[in-house]
């Protein structure tokens, strides 16, 4: 489909636990929230790897 278009991206807060407001934004809100969760997961797993390296207890 060649008729793709670029729509304006509104600014919004993205709490990690999500919100109704974010859900009501539709695709753009959901994609941003999903990304935030993935980033947080990654961060969490990186921090776990780091703490393992540091030899501290894993929570």
């Amino acid at each position: 489909m060649s008729e793709d278009k670029k729509s304006e991206i509104p600014k919004f807060n993205i709490p990690i636990e999500g919100s109704l407001g974010l859900l009501a934004l539709g695709a753009i809100g959901y994609i941003a929230w999903k990304k935030k969760r993935e980033e947080s997961k990654l961060k969490e797993s990186n921090s776990t790897v780091n703490t393992e390296k540091d030899g501290k207890a894993i929570s």
Partner: protein, 855 residues
């Protein structure tokens, strides 16, 4: 092609949305986006169809056609190949939908979640089917994939799959706005949180899909459908304030705001659509039906597949804004069938003459004259539908499959599957019959219902609808038989049967008995729709206008949007000479329902009596345009032109119309000799009807008050040319000759009945053949012949479209003259002088009582 009025059109479907919930929320500022929306456009109620089942209704919304044409008949259908059942699918839709027509016209057309729309049709854009949001048990764990048939074009499957929201993603942040004390809910006991999570995730999947299209693709049309409000209402309306009897207080405290929250969430989503669509888009928000709240909520639901429909109410919502649409205005008289014709006009495309809906022309700020095409079904080309080999009639396919089973080519289905298929076929036939009944095509509904009842004699709802069908078709005997059977089957149906029987009696002008039945029903089902309307109509018939107004007020409390209630109140005020009030009510009635010839007619009468002559002229003209055969409307407008508007030349057209097109009406009193026909002639004459008589036959000892006969009647079977003399008058015609009346006139017939034994004795006495009491003198053959004549007359009376009739029993007139006169007056539209009629009843002339009565 007509003028294109809209640049692009966005249709947002909110299943079951109802102003009764929205208005209080808007008043509190809790649905600000919708409030702003309606200030910038039009709003109104939209009437649903029967049966109010969503897959059928949304297909009607998408096609402009009723179910017998579009072919979607319920929630499920047989899968002939696998001999199982499946959810209704788009391949069973027999006609083109708006998105197919727009595809043909090369518009960028998208569709999300419409019910039914699976498998996704190959339209000129993106289609996301209704099955995309559904998830079966096997897919409860993340991540999930669904059938690629959900998405067109299939290469976008992964894109949309990434937009799907799983219930496990819903968090406390989403739930707390619905259930503030969600953390305290015993989730073992109550499944509320799970239900809300599932509904929100499905809703978000639809919303994500639709907004992604608007964000990323060019579009001329997008239709997006949400079932969320409906599902929230089915699960939580019983907890909605005010608290219903029988609802636990603690449960009520937990979830009483869920329905409101669901609406508020839709308002939040709407804001995003307005941002994405832009000010140059035409946006239509529509629901397929409303949802009962307050006292109309049913306390229990029957155990049948259509039971959710009992919670649905007659009016949903429509709101519309965009270029060329009126601002901050109400529209009236919209139906779910009107959406597709209106969208076609917005694109400057012709409306199919085979569509059942109309263009909502009153929503536009300029005059819109719709263009028409015979049928879009006859137009060839690419409509973005599935190839013909994929489309089928599942009901016919079952027949074909059964034949193959019988021939031994295909293995027979298991007993369970067989039973399921039979159940689904029965349901679809039932819904088809309801559709025909809704369209008043009772002759088509009848054979379906009769077959269903023959095969399922104990199924209450089939028999109940059959009884109603008989009633509408005037087959009172069969209707009463069905009522009697129903009374033996289920005591819970008795109030409804009393209502039905009351309606039968009212139709037979048996006013007091009808009222007794309605009152009996009222004790058990005080909020039963239409009951108070019928009670009011009954009081109106006997000119008890205050009581009628009281009953109309009760009907108004239950259904304030009923055009019939406002019409009834208006006519009551009219007859009470309260013209201002009458005009208000009648304007409301025709506002709700524009095609309402009686409403416009009475509005004309009220306006005329109030001195608003120009407006009265308009009202009569509308009434005449909707019902050209209404002689009284022509007569009123003739009077108006000649006596009030000073334009007698305009009256000529109407005078000629009456002369050339409207049949005259002759009133007939009929019956067998000595059944009281002369007494009835005297009564009606005293009541104000002019008698056609030549007085050739003089009064005698047998009939001291006179016969009031007309000699030429005796030759009616040979010569009916004299009937023109009887136009507008009352004439006596003996029963065997009544069938010789010509079709050139309308007839109002009062048919007298009397105990056969009494009648024969009276005849014998008159002829000097006095009964000596011996068996040999009793004319058995004569009695049989008379009975046959009465049977023949009965069939004729019921079969003639130009005949309205009332049976009156001679003995009843003698014993309870007031009641019988009341019934007669009702039959003659309350135009008789009942006091004078009463003076004509002389019980001393009742001289040949049956032996039973003499005891």
């Amino acid at each position: 092609m007509g003028k294109r009025l809209a640049k692009k059109v966005l249709v947002i479907g909110w299943d079951a949305a109802d102003w009764d919930i929205i208005n209080p929320l808007m008043e509190k500022g809790l649905m600000p986006t919708l409030e702003k929306f309606i200030n910038q456009g039009v709003m109104g109620k939209i009437s649903t169809l029967d049966p109010p089942l969503s897959p059928m209704l949304w297909t009607s919304i998408g096609t402009g056609k009723t179910a017998e044409k579009h072919g979607i008949l319920g929630f499920s259908e047989p899968n002939a190949t696998t001999q199982t059942i499946r959810p209704v699918s788009v391949t069973s839709r027999k006609v083109k939908a708006i998105w197919n027509i727009l595809t043909h016209e090369n518009y960028k057309t998208h569709l999300v979640g419409w019910w039914p729309s699976h498998p996704a049709e190959p339209i000129n854009g993106i289609a996301v089917s209704d099955m995309f949001t559904k998830m079966d048990k096997s897919q409860e764990s993340c991540p999930f994939r669904y059938n690629e048939d959900c998405i067109h074009p299939q290469e976008l499957y992964d894109t949309f799959n990434n937009l799907r929201v799983h219930p496990s993603e819903i968090t406390g942040s989403h739930i707390f706005p619905f259930v503030p004390n969600a953390d305290k809910v015993d989730q073992e006991k109550h499944k509320w949180i799970q239900t809300i999570s599932t509904l929100l995730s499905q809703c978000a999947t639809v919303h994500n899909s639709a907004t992604w299209i608007l964000e990323n693709k060019e579009w001329d049309f997008l239709g997006v459908y949400f079932d969320t409000i409906d599902h929230f209402c089915h699960a939580f309306m019983k907890y909605h304030p005010p608290k219903m009897d029988g609802i636990d207080q603690e449960e009520f405290d937990f979830v009483n705001d869920v329905v409101n929250s669901a609406y508020r969430y839709h308002d939040m989503m709407l804001e995003r659509y307005l941002q994405l669509a832009g000010d140059d888009a035409t946006i239509i928000i529509v629901s397929d039906h409303g949802f009962h709240s307050g006292v109309l909520r049913p306390k229990t639901l029957p155990n049948d597949p259509a039971s959710p429909a009992f919670e649905h109410s007659q009016y949903g919502i429509i709101a519309m804004k965009g270029p060329g649409i009126l601002k901050d205005e109400r529209i009236y008289g919209a139906s779910v069938l009107d959406i597709t014709p209106t969208i076609l006009s917005l694109f400057g495309l012709p409306v199919g003459k085979d569509m059942d809906g109309k263009v909502l022309v009153n929503a536009f700020d300029e005059k819109v004259v719709p263009e028409f095409i015979d049928s879009w079904e006859d137009v060839e080309g690419n409509f973005g539908m599935h190839p013909i080999e994929m489309r089928d009639n599942p009901w016919a396919s079952v027949d074909a499959m059964n034949q193959l089973v019988e021939l031994g080519y295909v293995e027979a289905p298991t007993e369970d599957n067989k039973e399921n298929i039979k159940r689904v076929v029965n349901e679809s036939n039932y819904y088809l019959a309801l559709t025909y009944s809704f369209k008043k095509e009772y002759d088509l509904a009848l054979p379906i219902l009769e077959k269903l009842v023959a095969e399922n004699p104990e199924t209450i709802r089939f028999l109940m609808r059959l009884a109603s069908c008989y009633q509408y078709m005037g087959n009172n005997i069969a209707c009463r038989r069905a009522i009697e059977k129903l009374r033996t089957l289920d005591s819970k149906t008795i109030p409804h049967l009393d209502f039905l029987e009351g309606s039968l009696l009212l139709g037979e002008n048996k006013i007091r008995k009808a009222l007794e039945m309605f009152k009996s029903a009222e004790k058990s089902v005080p909020h039963f729709p239409n009951l108070h309307l019928q009670i009011a109509n009954t009081y109106f018939k006997i000119k008890k206008f205050d009581l009628a107004l009281g009953a109309y007020s009760k009907a108004f409390q239950i259904n304030p949007d009923s055009p019939n209630v406002h019409h009834g109140m208006g006519v009551c005020y009219l007859r009470m000479d309260k013209y201002e009030e009458a005009i208000d009510e009648l304007l409301t009635a025709v506002g709700f329902l524009h095609f309402f010839p009686a409403g416009h007619y009475h509005l004309g009468e009220a306006l005329m009596k109030n001195g608003n002559y120009e407006m009265a002229e308009q009202a009569f003209l509308v009434s005449i345009s909707q019902s050209p055969g209404n002689k009284r409307a022509h007569q009123w407008i003739i009077k108006l032109y000649k006596e009030y508007l000073g334009t007698p030349e305009k009256a000529i057209y109407h005078e000629n119309f009456i002369k050339n097109n409207i049949k005259g009406t002759i009133t007939i009193v009929s019956g067998l000799p000595r059944s009281g026909t002369s007494m009835m002639m005297q009564m009606l004459n005293a009541g104000g009807l002019e008698v056609l008589t030549d007085n050739v036959r003089q009064n005698d000892d047998n009939n001291p008050k006179g016969y009031l006969e007309f000699e030429k009647v005796k030759r009616l079977h040979l010569d009916n040319s004299w009937l023109q003399e009887a136009d507008g008058k009352l004439v006596k015609v003996v029963a065997p000759l009544v069938m010789s009346l010509s079709n050139d006139y309308n007839y109002k017939i009062v048919f007298m009945l009397r105990d056969m034994d009494e009648m024969i004795r009276s005849q014998q006495k008159m002829l000097g053949k006095l009964d000596d009491g011996s068996k040999s003198s009793y004319p058995v053959a004569l009695i049989e012949a008379f009975k046959k004549q009465l049977e023949k007359a009965d069939i004729w009376l019921k079969s003639m479209p130009n005949v309205s009739f009332i049976y009156v029993n001679y003995t009843d007139v003698i014993n309870s003259p007031e009641e019988q006169i009341e019934n007669l007056n009702s039959f003659f539209d309350n135009e008789l002088d009942t006091d004078k009629m009463l003076s004509q009843v002389d019980s001393s002339l009742y001289r040949n009582k049956s032996k039973e009565l003499q005891k």
